[in-house]
Every structure is written in structure tokens, then in C-alpha cells.
């Protein structure tokens, strides 16, 4: 496949046209896989012998956590594309993905707390993973706040892209720092969140379906929001032209 053809979709009009056709499919797929996966997970899997039915929150918790990180990765890639090739759709896609990623982070944190309460007897522990997600949430918050604060679209795109790059490095650093910090002096890692390692197949397949569902949901939401951003941008361009007296 000719990779250069990919850049055609960086044209806003082309992007809108294409997504017009593609978006319903992704939305539909998201609905089908999510409803199917969640019903399968919630009603047709056995309760875990240790955790009882609380284990079923895994079908929300793991996929949302997965997407929380993937959303940031997508923002990183689109930010790089904006910096290097200056395609406006790319910057707008990064902007569109941020709130979705933030909501995914919140879902992961909330479901984690709800799960943690019966399992560990606490809503919150300063476990490295939990802490990392909290820090990720802060990064999303700052990124979105910066987009909102700057009026000029291109300036905002430039600044947020650089923030995303720098933030990614620091997020990675924080992850290692947090790991180091909680194995430090105070408490050993008494709570392990590594559930995936030993999940039985009977939980694994519906989990896979739910993960696919969250991926489709994410794509559909980001496409939708990018289209909104493009239209908002178009509106501003039209208004600007009107002011120039056309």
C-alpha cells in the first residue's frame, strides 16, 4: 500500500467525507461488541472462587485502563504528525482524543476503587499502578486546560503538541519513579493488581470482546469529536472571512 495516500485524509473535507461513511460502522461495532461482551461477561461467566461476583467489574476496568493509555499514545503520535507535517486534522484529533482519554482514566480509577473496596477493604491505596493513573489524569487535565486557555488555534496546537511530547517523557519517568517509590522503605507491594497474568480462559474471551468494544467506542468517539472540531474550525474560518468583507 502506498503510505503517501494516507496523508490525503489530512484534508479536512476529505476527512469529513470519509468518516461520514466509516463512522456508523465503528459506532455500530462498538455497540454490538460492548453490549455483547458485557452481557457475556456479567451473566454468562462463573463467579471467581475467591473474589465472587466482584471480579466481573474487570470487564469495565481493564478495557478502560487500556484505552486511557492508548488515548495518550494516540495524542502523542498525532502531536508529532502536527509538529512534523502540520496537518490541522492531526492536531484537532489530538484535541478530540484528550477528553475521551481523561474519561477513560476516570472510569479506570473509579471501577478500580469500587473493585478495591471489597477486595482489599480500601477504596484507595498508593499502589504504583493506581498512583500512575492518578498522575496520568493530572497530565490529561493540564493538556486540556492548555487547549482551552489559548485562543489562537495554531498557537494552541503548537503549544499542546510540545506539552504532549514533554509530558510523555515525564509521564514515563513518573511511572518508574512511582514504582521505585513504593518499593522503597515503607510498604512492600502487598497488593498486586496483576490480574491478567492468571485469568482463566472463561474470563479471558469476554474480556477480549470488551476490550475490542472499548477500542471501537474510542475510535467512534474520537472521530465524532474530531468532526465537531473541524466544523468549529470551519465556522471560525468562515467568520474570519466575513470580517475581511467577502
Amino acid at each position: 500500500m502506498n503510505l503517501n495516500a494516507l496523508w490525503e485524509y489530512a484534508n479536512p473535507k476529505k476527512f469529513i467525507q470519509t468518516t461520514d461513511r466509516v463512522l456508523p460502522w465503528f459506532a455500530g461495532l462498538a455497540a454490538v461488541t460492548l453490549v455483547g461482551g458485557l452481557i457475556w461477561g456479567f451473566f454468562f461467566t462463573p463467579a471467581d472462587y475467591r473474589q465472587g461476583s466482584t471480579v466481573k467489574i474487570i470487564y469495565l476496568h481493564v478495557p478502560s485502563a487500556l484505552m486511557a493509555i492508548n488515548a495518550w499514545l494516540m495524542m502523542l503520535v498525532t502531536s508529532l504528525v502536527w509538529i512534523v507535517r502540520r496537518h490541522h486534522v492531526s492536531a484537532l484529533a489530538a484535541r478530540a482524543a484528550a477528553p475521551v482519554g481523561m474519561v477513560m482514566t476516570v472510569i479506570a480509577l473509579l471501577t478500580g476503587a469500587i473493585w478495591g473496596q471489597p477486595m482489599w477493604g480500601t477504596w484507595w491505596a498508593w499502589d504504583p499502578r493506581l498512583t500512575s493513573f492518578l498522575i496520568l489524569f493530572l497530565f490529561y487535565l493540564g493538556y486540556i486546560a492548555l487547549w482551552e486557555a489559548i485562543e489562537n488555534d495554531d498557537t494552541a496546537a503548537d503549544l499542546t503538541s510540545i506539552l504532549c511530547l514533554v509530558g510523555s517523557v515525564f509521564a514515563l519517568l513518573s511511572r518508574y519513579a512511582v514504582n521505585f517509590w513504593n518499593q522503597g522503605l515503607h510498604q512492600g507491594a502487598s497488593l498486586s493488581l496483576d490480574k491478567e497474568e492468571n485469568v482463566a480462559d472463561v474470563f479471558w474471551y469476554p474480556l477480549l470482546v470488551c476490550m475490542a468494544g472499548f477500542v471501537f467506542l474510542f475510535i467512534a468517539l474520537v472521530l465524532m469529536r474530531t468532526r465537531t472540531e473541524i466544523r468549529a474550525r470551519r465556522m471560525r474560518a468562515l467568520l474570519a472571512r466575513e470580517r475581511m468583507g467577502v
Binding site: 479536512p12 490541522h88 473541524i230 470551519r234 474560518a237 474570519a240 472571512r241 475581511m244 467577502v246
Partner: protein, 205 residues
């Protein structure tokens, strides 16, 4: 030494304001920009100074030769007049700033904190900065704001001296500086028309 601008289009806040601008200045020449408020004079000067990118066109400036003076003078109120000048002289790699003090009659004020100066005196200090930089191309945005007639004359003398020494000046101003040798360019005639479809905003239409 030559400043050449060819077929320049500039934008403010993403919206084009001037297009198709071309002019060239040689050593000893000055160009006065005129045009109503909001016509894009400041944007043009900032673009020439390299503070913002041009949308289209070329600007040829010899490297390390240009000095820009905008609406704000970059004066630190807690430093004295002499300290302010000394700082800018050092930034541009020079030592001596006495000629600048003399040219704008700042000697009686030299030890006063710049914060205690009047608006016109501050402006004189801001213009004196040009002399300590030792740069040949002056890009000045409304240099005579808040100057009295006497100070304007001082400024005109400074510009003339600069041109006589082989310098160039690009000045946006409303008032007549009495620089009879300067060319005048009214930017009003270069107002940008809405862009063609192939620019980025056009891609959104």
C-alpha cells in the same frame, strides 16, 4: 547591506492582513510605512524582524544585522537609565553606551531609576537602545509615540546620522519626521484579499 522583501503575505492571528508587498532598501535609505490603524504595519515589522513567519514570500535580511523596537521599550523600572542601556549594549556585544546617552540628551537622567521617568523620557531611553546595539537595519514601530517636538527632532537627527553612516531604517509612523530623503509606502494598497482555496483555512471550507 540590503534589506529585500519580495511578494510578501503576512497574517495576524491566522488571518491574512497584507499581501503582495515588495520593497528593497539599500545602505543609507529609509522607508516610512503608513496606513490606518489595524492595517498590518506592526505585523509587517514583526515579520521582517523574524518574530513571526511570513505566510508567503521572501524576506532577505543579512544575518545579525537587524534590531527591532516595538511599542514597548523593554525598560526595567528598577534599573537606572545607564544600567538599562549598559545591559542592552552588552547583550549586543558592545561596551560603550555614552554616545547613545548624548544623542538623546539622557545625561541628566543617567542615574535615575527608569521607573521614575516620564513616558516621553522612557521612549527616549528606548530609542537610545538602538544606538548601543550597533546594528545597521533599524525596524521601528511607532517610534515617536509620546515624544515632544524637541525629542522628535532628536530622533530625526539620530536616524539621519544612522543613514549617513550607511544604516537602513524601516519605520512605521503617523507623524512627519522631516526625513525628506525617506521613501514612503502606504500599506493600505496591499490589503489582503480572502485566500484562495488551497491555503489551510480554505481547506476547511
Amino acid at each position: 547591506m540590503k534589506l529585500k522583501v519580495s511578494d510578501l503575505t503576512i497574517a495576524r492571528g491566522g488571518i491574512p492582513v497584507l499581501e503582495g508587498l515588495s520593497f528593497a532598501l539599500d545602505s543609507g535609505q529609509a522607508l516610512v510605512l503608513r496606513g490606518p490603524n489595524g492595517s498590518g504595519k506592526t505585523t509587517l515589522l514583526r515579520t521582517v524582524a523574524g518574530l513571526q513567519p511570513a505566510v508567503l514570500g521572501r524576506i532577505d535580511v543579512p544575518p545579525e544585522s537587524l534590531v527591532y523596537a516595538g511599542h514597548a521599550d523593554g525598560i526595567k523600572p528598577t534599573l537606572s537609565v545607564a544600567e538599562n542601556l549598559k545591559f542592552w549594549a552588552e547583550v549586543f556585544g558592545n561596551k560603550d553606551y555614552s554616545h547613545a546617552i548624548d544623542a538623546f540628551k539622557l545625561a541628566p537622567l543617567a542615574d535615575r531609576p527608569a521607573g521614575a521617568l516620564s513616558a516621553g523620557q522612557k521612549r527616549r531611553l528606548g530609542l537610545a537602545r538602538l544606538l548601543v546595539t550597533g546594528r545597521t537595519i533599524w525596524v521601528l514601530d511607532e517610534p515617536t509615540v509620546s515624544l515632544d517636538a524637541e525629542a522628535v527632532a532628536l530622533f530625526a537627527t539620530a536616524v539621519r546620522g544612522h543613514l549617513a553612516a550607511g544604516g537602513l531604517a524601516l519605520i512605521a509612523t503617523h507623524i512627519d519626521l522631516g526625513l525628506s530623503e525617506a521613501q514612503v509606502l502606504d500599506v493600505g494598497g496591499y490589503r489582503a484579499k480572502p485566500l484562495a482555496e488551497n491555503d489551510f483555512d480554505g481547506a476547511f471550507l
